[in-house]
Symmetry: C2
């Protein structure tokens, strides 16, 4: 897996796993790949995987069972909260940045629409 060298790898692993958990690749209650396997898949060290997982365990989005494996929480409410939080974080970030560049609310919305239209021309989903 390729990483952005401006952001800690363990942090990007968290986002990767969030993505898997929120888009159906990993469902509530599912067992995650073994840490050593994840390390191989992502071509990083086990400790780096563990650092990402331990933060997620603290957050409650993943539950660990020693000797068995790591599991996506079965608490769908918490997962919904996680998704909402990730979306809001992204929106807040783009809004703050563009607002700081003196774009008005309307210009921010318009520029996003324009971006999506341009992008959509040729590879819609």
């Amino acid at each position: 897996m390729k990483f952005d060298d401006k952001i800690p790898i363990y942090y990007q692993i968290k986002n990767y796993l969030y993505h898997e958990m929120l888009t159906g690749t990993l469902n509530p209650g599912d067992k995650l790949p073994a840490v050593r396997q994840l390390a191989v898949d992502l071509t990083v060290n086990v400790n780096t995987v563990q650092r990402a997982l331990s933060e997620m365990i603290t957050e409650g989005t993943i539950e660990s069972q020693r000797g068995k494996g790591n599991f996506v929480t079965a608490d769908t409410t918490r997962l919904a909260q996680l998704k909402e939080q990730l979306v809001m974080t992204q929106l807040a970030q783009v809004y703050e940045q563009l607002h700081a560049l003196n774009l008005t609310d309307e210009e921010i919305i318009a520029s996003l629409k324009r971006y999506i239209e341009q992008k959509g021309a040729g590879q819609n989903v």
Copy 2:
């Protein structure tokens, strides 16, 4: 100045200076504060400021004159390009992230509108 410990400081300094250059605090052709003064203002080391500046000099957004100072480029076309690029980077990032969470184009736009409305309630600009 407070920095996000997930992103290199020199990189955040670049964004800070971009902001000053694109919102009228620093106008085309303006002289920047001396590097040592910037270091004091931002509470970082001179070398860290210099690293940010040297990248911006390479990019052509800042011009250096040894013994005199650093100056915002007078090339307003280049500054306009810079702003456009920063906006596009932000839009691409938020779009990719939200799209990766399975939000449709319409949902992405709608969620941004909702975010702005909620935010606007009480502190419009």
